[in-house]
């Protein structure tokens, strides 16, 4: 059908747009870190390395990320075995629920943890009630608190990847090992574990980069604990713009190294299972079954408690809950007020239109890129693909700062215009941040699509537009749904880029949650949290279902 050309105007245009939106701001901010009033200088870099705070933040980011990987693996891998290898009543529904935290916007997770395990949260109230004590038994602050929140939302990477690998695994290979004289432990160590290696490494790196980029948890729970993401913001607010740029460069470099490692490991993933896999049978012995069931239900309840907390608190009237174990009064007025008051509704409307716009635009770009990269195999396809996933590796704080730098001056000749402070900066930021989540499923969808289907349509006389509309897009529907849903929820709940780029008129949900929280309006904050939670849960369940049928 479409001729294979190394180059085309379309590819050139897309590549240019991606370079301008993804790479250019980062490069600009990089320059800024090395440019003083008298031209190029290493003064800011030297300043960065001279400050002990910076080293602390760098070290803090690194060790909290490594610790997050370890704790997440310790939670996620056993869960994957529990739900991937055993059978017990409720396994299917619980197995889906256990994956929920991954779709929860980070700020909402933080919020839920605050109300559940914070010093004035349910757990603390409960302990105070039991011990008849007046003071809070603990403070949810510092590295421990960050780690707890990280582990809660990131064990899911281990859980999902390892579980998928377990279900793909050739059951006959395990039987072959047993038949060759291996004990259960030997089978696990010599066959199962090596076959899981790519998934384990992939999950570890994904957790590491996510944790490195994590902003909400350290921002809210950090206290005196320094990590790079919050450090960047603090330095910038101090007015040390250039040092902040050096910080973003340092953070980006760490993230890029991790992404490079992930790419190297991803290549190894191709030689996963052999063909003709027999599914691993689920063990169903009496005692193990009971144990699995109890363990599965307990864990699921524990993991869903934060969600339940938010839901409960969204019905609590302002200022009525102080020292009781459970709030004494409940009302729907928080919800009613949301619909009734234009001021309250505003952030919701803002988030909705900005997320919709960003999602639609990122889907269009992703489909276009999929066509160019997979179908036309343009010469610059590697570049396009790399630019599409790059925003993933770059922490949100870094990206927001880079955009703030790039689009705060009017220099049309340098392709810089003033967008900061306008309506358009947030949708643009969301769009760029969405490119990885939108393009991955769609590129994968294109790769699974048999090109002869489009060729058949062309052979039957369909024009290019008709082929796209009648053949390509309908076949891509599951990928489009998954990509669109994920992108929409990510944009809807975004906090990290919003906090740096919002204006009062475009303030999104997450910022309103923060300000409600600061003014003690727990109920209203929870209502917004519940809305985001419901949206993300819907998306996650829909996404995992379409994922199942696609498999």
């Amino acid at each position: 059908m479409a001729s294979r050309r190394a180059w085309s105007w379309g590819a050139a245009f897309l590549l240019g747009a991606l370079l301008w939106l993804v790479a250019y701001p980062i490069i600009l901010s990089g320059f800024e870190g090395f440019t003083g009033p008298e031209g190029a200088t290493l003064a800011y870099a030297r300043e960065f390395f001279a400050r002990p705070n910076e080293w602390q933040a760098l070290w803090g980011s690194l060790w909290i990320s490594v610790a997050t990987v370890i704790v997440s693996a310790l939670v996620g891998v056993p869960l994957a075995f529990l739900f991937g290898r055993t059978e017990f009543p409720g396994r299917k529904i619980l197995g889906a629920l256990v994956g929920l935290p991954v779709a929860l916007p980070p700020l909402v997770g933080v919020l839920a943890f605050l109300f559940l395990y914070g010093e004035s949260g349910f757990a603390a109230h409960f302990v105070k009630w039991i011990t008849r004590s007046e003071t809070a038994p603990w403070r949810l602050q510092g590295a421990g608190a960050i780690l707890l929140v990280h582990a809660y939302s990131m064990y899911v990477y281990f859980y999902l990847l390892v579980r998928a690998a377990l279900e793909r695994m050739d059951g006959a290979a395990l039987e072959a090992a047993a038949s060759l004289g291996a004990s259960r432990w030997q089978v696990f160590r010599r066959v199962t574990l090596p076959m899981l290696r790519p998934s384990l490494l992939g999950a570890a790196l994904l957790t590491f980069t996510t944790s490195l980029a994590s902003f909400s948890a350290p921002y809210i729970f950090g206290g005196g604990f320094r990590v790079m993401t919050t450090q960047v913001l603090a330095t910038r607010l101090n007015g040390d713009t250039q040092v902040a740029m050096v910080e973003t460069i340092a953070l980006t470099l760490i993230a890029l190294v991790a992404l490079g490692l992930m790419g190297a490991v991803g290549d190894g993933d191709a030689r996963g299972g052999s063909k003709g896999t027999a599914p691993v049978r689920h063990l169903a012995t009496g005692k193990g079954r009971l144990f699995s069931m109890i363990g599965g239900w307990t864990l699921a309840v524990l993991l869903l408690l934060p969600h339940a907390t938010l839901l409960l608190l969204s019905f609590v009237p302002v200022g009525t809950w102080t020292t009781e174990v459970l709030p004494p009064a409940y009302t729907v007025s928080n919800y009613v007020e949301l619909v009734g008051s234009a001021e309250r509704l505003r952030p919701l409307v803002n988030s909705l239109w900005m997320a919709t716009l960003a999602t639609v635009a990122s889907l269009v770009i992703a489909v276009w890129a999929g066509h160019l990269v997979v179908r036309r195999q343009v010469g610059v396809r590697k570049w396009i693909e790399t630019l599409l996933v790059a925003p993933w590796a770059v922490p949100g704080t870094v990206f927001a700062l880079a955009l703030a730098t790039a689009f705060s001056v009017h220099q049309p000749w340098a392709l810089r215009v003033i967008l900061v402070g306008s309506l358009w900066i947030l949708p643009l930021a969301y769009l760029i941040r969405n490119l990885p989540v939108a393009s991955r499923p769609i590129l994968a969808g294109f790769r699974q699509l048999d090109p002869s289907l489009e060729e058949a349509a062309a052979g039957l006389g369909a024009a290019r537009g008709t082929i796209l509309r009648r053949v390509t897009l309908p076949l891509l529907a599951p990928a489009l749904a998954a990509a669109g849903a994920l992108a929409f929820v990510t944009a809807l709940g975004d906090f990290v880029t919003s906090v740096l780029l919002y204006t009062y008129d475009t303030r999104p949900l997450s910022l309103e949650i923060l300000s409600s929280l600061r003014s003690g309006d727990v109920g209203v904050a929870s209502v917004y949290g519940v809305l985001l939670m419901a949206a993300s849960a819907t998306v996650f369940l829909v996404g995992s279902r379409t994922g199942d049928t696609a498999r």
Binding site: E175, A176, S179, L180, G181, G272
Partner: protein, 350 residues
């Protein structure tokens, strides 16, 4: 001398019997094929032999030792899986060495035995190849080497030839037979393909719905099928409803529709309704005029020296007949005479 015994082996899944009181014996060095259509219980039987399924009844005895309850790792059986189940994270050497390492074989002895096993399957020097870069035939030989390296007591093969394309299949079958004979290992394999079973095995057990229909040498199964199912499953056959009118020491009289035909050979069974099962080669063409059984050739497929004719002998009744290629054209009317070999009569109830 009996080496492997299956005694009343039974396996239920929910309420249905996957394998129902199956008893078989294999002599030392013998090759047994479990032949049957899908759902006949042949794979379940093989998995019970390997220890991957626990039987609900009966036992498995090897060399006088009851291994029924033993875990796969304890019974020293070598299994080659249908899709080979090679360990994707190990190279050829790693795969073949695996079982030996489990036995505690180390150092030069290990390398020596890996080398021998690979030489046995004609893969010498391929130690460091990644298994996922090999062809299907090579993968199968790695799987064989892996199973044989620890010198198991019994070799189990699950559909050993089903993944190979037809040209490779023929050759692999010959090589496999030579290999098994050379090693002299007692072997049980599962297949749904009669040709594979006949070509490889000394003894073939025909299974249907979990039950043993007949066990015997390929010749026995073909020449003396125990029932219409075996006759139909083994080789080409046509089954007709007929009536046995009289039988004697050297021939019998059978009525098919209007025609009354003579069937030579000793047939001692009571008169009454029967299934008449015939092979294509049991019929001879005769001039239509004067023949007691007549029909019209409705289809004709040439295979070379001979052709298969489909002869319509009555409304909705056809016979498959093998004849010299140019003996009859499509549409011709022919007479048919039954021979002695390959014609089987089985009582029909009702």
């Amino acid at each position: 001398m009996t080496f492997l015994v299956l005694e009343g082996l039974t396996k239920r899944f929910d309420e249905t019997f996957a394998v129902d009181r199956l008893s078989l014996t294999v002599p030392r060095g013998g090759i047994l094929a479990l032949l049957g259509p899908s759902g006949s219980g042949k794979t379940t039987t093989l998995r019970m032999l390997g220890g991957f399924e626990l039987p609900d009844g009966g036992k498995v005895v090897v060399d006088g030792e009851d291994v029924t309850g033993l875990a796969p790792r304890e019974r020293r059986f070598g299994m080659v899986f249908q899709h080979y189940a090679l360990f994707p994270h190990l190279d050829v050497r790693g795969n073949v060495a695996f079982g030996l390492e489990m036995l505690g074989v180390k150092g030069p002895a290990l390398e020596q035995r890996v080398k021998e096993a690979l030489a046995l399957v004609d893969l010498a020097g391929m130690e460091s190849r990644p298994v996922d870069r090999m062809s299907g035939g090579q993968q199968q030989r790695v799987a064989l080497a892996r199973a044989l390296a620890p010198e198991p007591r019994v070799l189990l093969l699950d559909e050993p030839l089903s993944n190979l394309d037809p040209t490779l299949r023929e050759r692999t079958r010959r090589e496999l037979r030579a290999l098994i004979r050379r090693v002299g290992i007692t072997t049980v394999f599962v297949t749904h393909d009669q040709e594979d079973a006949f070509d490889l095995a000394d003894q073939v057990a025909v299974l249907r719905a979990g039950r043993l229909e007949q066990v015997g040498t390929p010749d026995q199964l073909y020449m003396e099928p125990a029932n219409p199912f075996v006759a139909g499953f083994v080789g080409r056959a046509t089954r007709l409803d007929a009536v046995l009118e009289e039988s004697g020491p050297d021939h019998a009289w059978v009525r098919i529709g209007e025609a009354r035909i003579r069937i030579p050979g000793r047939r001692s069974m009571p008169a009454g309704p029967i299934h008449l099962v015939t092979r294509p080669e049991s019929w001879q063409l005769a001039p239509a005029a004067g023949a007691t059984l007549r029909g019209v050739v409705v289809d004709r497929r040439t295979t070379g020296a001979r052709a298969f004719l489909t002869v319509k002998i009555g409304e909705g009744t056809t016979l498959e007949v093998s004849a010299p290629t140019f003996a009859a054209a499509e549409g011709a009317e022919v007479g048919l005479v039954a021979g002695e070999e390959g014609v089987h009569l089985f009582p029909r109830n009702g």
